[in-house]
């Protein structure tokens, strides 16, 4: 009965504008009419995504080629080749997704959540890489289970908040379903362990519930509960040493007592500091020569700072800010609540990851594995991200925003 209501509601809410453009939808070519003023996607957002993607690819190539050269048999293109292939596939996927009516994703909310839980359990029985169970490896193809999880949280929360929007102030409808989703997810993530993903998930969930209009006392209580659960994990389990080392290394990364754990942070800071105002120039990073471990991954922003300097780094931050801003505008003006919530969730995820990643690289917060969207190496993750941007673009098609 609930499901029926959703369908009704969505068809109702999206009904009116759809009817207006019914003729156009019937014409298949109009689906790809991306520059159409009325039903086309939001060009500023698209432009921002593609700009950041191109910059990200260039920087990824620059950051990755020494590692590729030294560690992968002199093949400087080892990483960039994969990444470009996935980026092209991802952009195609993005356009495809942008043409889908996002209401279609209502159907996917629960299955995706199921897949997320399934993968989070599967990942725990996978062999650990660097001591953590984050990767599901299928031959040469590997991906992080948590990429699905983040999307699953955003999608399912958007779905359920939309469903129970008017009952968000009750415990039964406003809090309980989300706790039921969140707590096992967090426990599974903590078991990997993947604290940074926990943080993103918690922040995303909190943001969406906040916008969903839960009472702030619940908000506070649940947040408190999650915080104490995290505290418990940190203090009373064997994860203790794991987190503690990170914190002492964070406070003084240059102290020799901090040990090898701070090597990455330290080398990242050297790179940032070496950049100065204008940087050493594109391709001229020295720290990427095996000093920063895996400079193509989480610490790519340090290489960006070294090569492009403060100015380059700020421009990139500005582009991300614009992306978040434009995503938010699209979402606010989305045709319905589901669109808004989904758009906000997906945009916020990018914003949060950028924020946390750069905070880690600049040693503002303790080092934890968070990749930089569009920059860090990882094909699946990039495709996933572009698909999510596709959803935002899909939302933008029916959003009441001024289009160029």
């Amino acid at each position: 009965m609930k499901a029926k209501r959703i369908r009704q509601k969505s068809s109702e809410s999206s009904g009116a504008p759809k009817k207006q453009k019914n003729r156009k939808f019937k014409n298949l070519s109009s689906w790809f009419k991306i520059f159409s003023l009325k039903s086309g996607m939001d060009l500023p957002f698209l432009f921002l995504v593609l700009t950041i993607l191109v910059i990200g690819l260039v920087m990824m190539f620059s950051a990755s080629y020494p590692n590729a050269y030294y560690l992968h048999g002199g093949n400087s293109f080892y990483f960039i080749k994969n990444q470009v292939i996935f980026a092209i596939l991802g952009v195609i996927g993005m356009f495809a997704v942008s043409c889908v009516d996002y209401h279609y994703f209502h159907k996917w909310a629960v299955p995706v959540l199921g897949i997320s839980f399934f993968l989070l359990i599967v990942v725990l029985i996978m062999p650990p890489i660097n001591g953590v169970h984050r990767w599901i490896q299928l031959g040469t193809f590997g991906f992080q289970a948590s990429e699905i999880t983040k999307f699953a949280i955003v999608l399912s929360f958007a779905h359920f908040i939309n469903l129970n929007f008017h009952r968000m102030n009750t415990f039964k409808y406003g809090i309980l379903p989300y706790l039921i989703i969140l707590i096992p997810t967090l426990i599974l993530l903590a078991l990997e362990p993947h604290i940074s993903c926990c943080a993103i998930v918690v922040l995303l969930a909190a943001g969406m519930l906040f916008i969903g209009g839960i009472q702030l006392k619940w908000f506070g209580m649940v947040l408190g509960g999650i915080a104490s659960a995290l505290l418990y994990l940190v203090l009373f389990t064997d994860k203790l040493t794991y987190a503690n080392d990170r914190i002492s290394g964070w406070l003084d990364p240059f102290s020799p007592a901090s040990g090898v754990d701070t090597w990455q942070t330290r080398q990242g800071l050297y790179a940032i500091g070496s950049g100065g105002l204008f940087g050493l120039g594109l391709g001229n990073s020295r720290q990427k020569y095996l000093y920063i471990p895996e400079p193509q991954n989480d610490f790519i922003f340090a290489v960006v700072c070294e090569e492009l300097g403060f100015i380059g780094a700020v421009i990139i931050l500005l582009l991300f800010s614009l992306l978040v801003w434009r995503g938010m505008v699209i979402s606010i003006r989305a045709k319905d609540k589901f669109g808004s919530l989904l758009g906000i969730g997906l945009t916020a995820q990018v914003g949060l990851q950028v924020l946390l990643n750069i905070a880690v690289v600049t040693n503002t917060i303790p080092n934890t594995g968070i990749s930089l969207p569009f920059f860090s190496y990882g094909g699946t993750s990039l495709m996933m991200l572009l698909a999510q941007m596709g959803i935002v673009l899909a939302i933008s098609r029916s959003s009441r925003i001024e289009k160029i």
Binding site: Y270, G273, L290, Y291, A313, S321, I332, A359, T364
Partner: protein, 732 residues
């Protein structure tokens, strides 16, 4: 949908972004310099380019130490791009350098751009490697880097002064160490960016800072003078079985320029870590394993030690020239003051008696005679008159209480009775005769130079000029007069007493005909340092010439002679004389003969070849030579000694009249332990000549102490054997 909530959320995100911009400002601007420095430190690898070390020349610009180009062979495994090439390179280098191929293969497989395979190979090997590269078409993977190796073309010549360098061409001893900063130049470097595993980055980032050549040094030391000194010192060590090395220093009395500084029992700076003395080497090898390295190190530091500046010794009677100066300067004595020597003296009430070296005593004598006798009681009496305070003041002004600051490393200070000059009457008594306080030979020499030059204490120095690579003078070391120790008049009076001493007194073994030598002998007991159960002595002689206008002052010093004699007059003085015989003419100092000397002069041998036997005979006899005809020919076809050589009056000249006779030879007889007359007679009876060295006197106390050609050696008839004569009076 609550728009407000979304705005709040956006504000939070953007605030976060702003915070990050703030962090970037902090890191890139405020901490930027520090982080950048730390980053560069780990990123840059520098390869040193050696600077060519300066040459050390003697005063006539003969090179004594120089650096020659050699090559370091470097492998660049990162630039060897195939295993096939790697094998060719390893095999080729292995053969050329005589290294194991496995070792090379290991190096060639290292993840590196720079591995030194062999250091300092010579040019011929370098050429072989270049040929090998050309032949096998190898353009990368082997690199030859210029380096320098230190050569000492004269071997152990002046080794203690010049010193030696270590494996990185750093000065470790002598001039090489003292002037290391001047000589070494500034190494250049090649800066290369490197990655975290230490290999170079694959792109070009190279900056070269060229090396700066070191300056050259021109020493005051004259190679010829140094050679004379070393030769005679070595001979002295051999003849007198000197146990603990010997030293001699010669200096320009007015400028303080060290003209020669010889230490024997030294080393070859080309191989400084080789123990020179084979018997020492043997002794070390016979030691148990755990003691070997200690004994070896001790032996090495002993042979490296510059005895002339690093060792202190009791100057003994040589110091009497200083005591005499004090007495004359203070006017507590003059040339006519009389002293009575009874063979011993009690310096003060209740003190131990001190004996004179002449048991029976010298009787009553004036001050000049006392110096010529080197009479201990006379000088003790004089010392007591001078008093402790005056003694110490003069001691200081003569420069004994400070290092001379000669430009050589490891100079020792003195060892006085107390640092502030406090001494007892007994101390004063023995100090007056040069005992019981330690000074360095260079201090004694500087004091003697002051007596020679009219009372000035000069700054002794070994280096004359610092030159740049083109021979331009960078710096000249000017003579420095530090102070006046005594008045010119006193200096002149002491000089004439010393001249008398070397002409007729205890120093006459140092006499050089024609050259007015002034000097003083010394024999000091090594109290507390002797071999157990024996009395060890240091025999020394210090003097200068010519006495009327002194040019050169020299100290000769033998530590622990164990031969027939140990007195300074018997051991050191003849060596002094032999060195001076060569050095003074070399320096162009004019000979002035006394009548007595003229009568003993040698005769120039005339050229008799081609003349008939009778003619030759007559001419020899006219030249007061003693002809000896060999063979049955009619004409002289050869003669020994050859024309213009000099032999003593009534020397033998052997005249060969046919070719057969030329092959005859005679065995050199023993010519030592004889009086001059006896030696002459013996030599003549064997058809040999003698060349007199040392004291030329028919006095029966004069006997021959050594001969230049060992007894039993087969030589041609008429050959001159140099025989050294010494005065037998054992006088300190």
């Amino acid at each position: 949908m609550q728009r407000r909530s979304i705005v709040v959320l956006m504000i939070i995100v953007f605030a976060g972004f702003l915070l990050l911009v703030g962090r970037l400002i902090a890191l890139q601007f405020f901490q930027g310099e520090y982080l950048k420095k730390m980053a560069s430190e780990q990123q840059m690898a520098d390869t040193k380019i050696s600077a060519k070390r300066g040459t050390i020349y003697d005063r006539n610009m003969k090179p004594l130490a120089q650096s020659a180009t050699v090559w370091n062979v470097v492998l660049e495994p990162a630039y060897i791009n195939s295993d096939e090439k790697r094998k060719i390179i390893c095999d080729g280098l292995g053969e050329i350098l005589g290294m194991e191929k496995e070792k090379l293969n290991e190096l060639a497989n290292k993840k590196s751009c720079y591995t030194i395979v062999k250091k300092k190979v010579e040019t011929d090997i370098k050429d072989k490697i270049i040929n090998f590269k050309v032949k096998n078409n190898i353009s990368s993977g082997i690199r030859l880097i210029e380096d320098y190796k230190r050569y000492y073309p004269c071997g152990s010549f002046a080794a203690s002064v010049i010193g030696f360098t270590g494996s990185d061409s750093q000065g470790l001893a002598g001039i090489e160490a003292y002037y290391d900063k001047v000589l070494r130049g500034e190494p250049g470097k090649i800066l290369t960016a490197k990655n975290a595993i230490g290999t170079e980055m694959p792109f070009e980032y190279e900056q070269m800072i060229a090396a700066k050549k070191g300056h050259n040094l021109r020493l005051c030391i004259d190679e010829t003078i140094q050679k004379f000194m070393e030769k005679n010192l070595e001979e002295g060590i051999r003849n007198h079985k000197v146990k603990n090395r010997a030293a001699a220093i010669a200096m320009d009395v007015n400028t303080g320029e060290v003209l020669g500084m010889a230490v024997k029992g030294d080393f070859d700076p080309n191989e400084p870590f080789k123990i020179t003395d084979p018997s020492e080497e043997e002794k070390i090898n016979s030691l148990p394993e755990e003691e070997k390295s200690k004994a070896r190190n001790e032996a090495l530091s002993r042979q490296w030690r510059n005895k002339a500046v690093s060792d202190t010794y009791y100057p003994g009677s040589v110091f009497k020239m200083v005591t005499a100066s004090m007495g004359l300067e203070l006017d507590v004595v003059n040339e006519t003051s009389t002293f009575t020597c009874t063979g011993s003296i009690r310096p003060c009430e209740g003190a131990q008696t001190i004996r004179c070296h002449k048991r029976g005593g010298h009787g009553t004598q004036n001050f000049v005679e006392a110096l010529c006798h080197s009479c201990n009681p006379a000088f003790i009496t004089l010392g007591l008159r001078i008093g402790t305070e005056n003694f110490f003041n003069f001691y200081k002004s003569f420069g004994f209480h400070n290092k001379t600051n000669i430009d050589l490393p490891g100079e020792s200070g003195d060892l006085f009775f107390s640092a502030n000059g406090k001494m007892t009457q007994m101390d004063l008594a023995v100090a007056s005769m040069g005992q019981n306080f330690g000074i360095t030979p260079i201090q004694m020499l500087t004091a003697a130079a002051a007596i020679a030059n009219g009372g000035n204490i000069v700054q002794p120095h070994v280096v004359k000029e610092i030159l740049d690579e083109n021979g331009n003078i960078v710096k000249t070391i000017d003579p420095v007069i530090k102070r006046k120790a005594i008045s010119e008049k006193t200096a002149k009076r002491v000089t004439s007493m010393m001249l008398e001493n070397a002409t007729h007194g205890s120093a006459k073994n140092a006499y050089v005909p024609g050259y007015r030598v002034a000097g003083k002998t010394g024999t000091s007991e090594k109290i507390g340092l002797s071999t157990p159960g024996r009395k060890d002595y240091i025999s020394s002689f210090c003097g200068f010439a010519p006495a009327d206008n002194p040019k050169i002052v020299m100290l000769v010093f033998f530590d622990t002679p164990t031969g027939d004699f140990y007195y300074g007059s018997a051991v050191a003085a003849p060596v002094f004389s032999k060195i001076m015989q060569d050095v003074l003419p070399y320096m162009g100092i004019e000979k002035i003969y006394t009548e007595e000397e003229l009568s003993k002069l040698d005769v120039h041998v005339p050229n008799l070849v081609g003349k008939s036997v009778t003619e030759a005979k007559n001419e020899s006899m006219n030249n007061s030579l003693n002809p000896k005809i060999v063979g049955n020919g009619e004409n002289v076809i050869a003669q020994i000694p050859s024309a213009s050589e000099k032999i003593p009056h009534d020397g033998v000249i052997v005249l060969y009249t046919d070719a057969e006779s030329k092959n005859s030879s005679v065995k050199v007889p023993k010519l030592t332990g004889l009086s001059l007359q006896e030696a002459n007679k013996t030599a003549a009876s064997f058809g040999l000549n003698i060349k007199i060295s040392g004291v030329n006197s028919n006095d029966s106390a004069v006997i021959s102490s050594d001969q230049s050609i060992a007894p039993g050696t087969e030589v041609a008839p008429g050959t001159s054997v140099t025989v050294t004569f010494i005065h037998q009076d054992g006088i300190t």
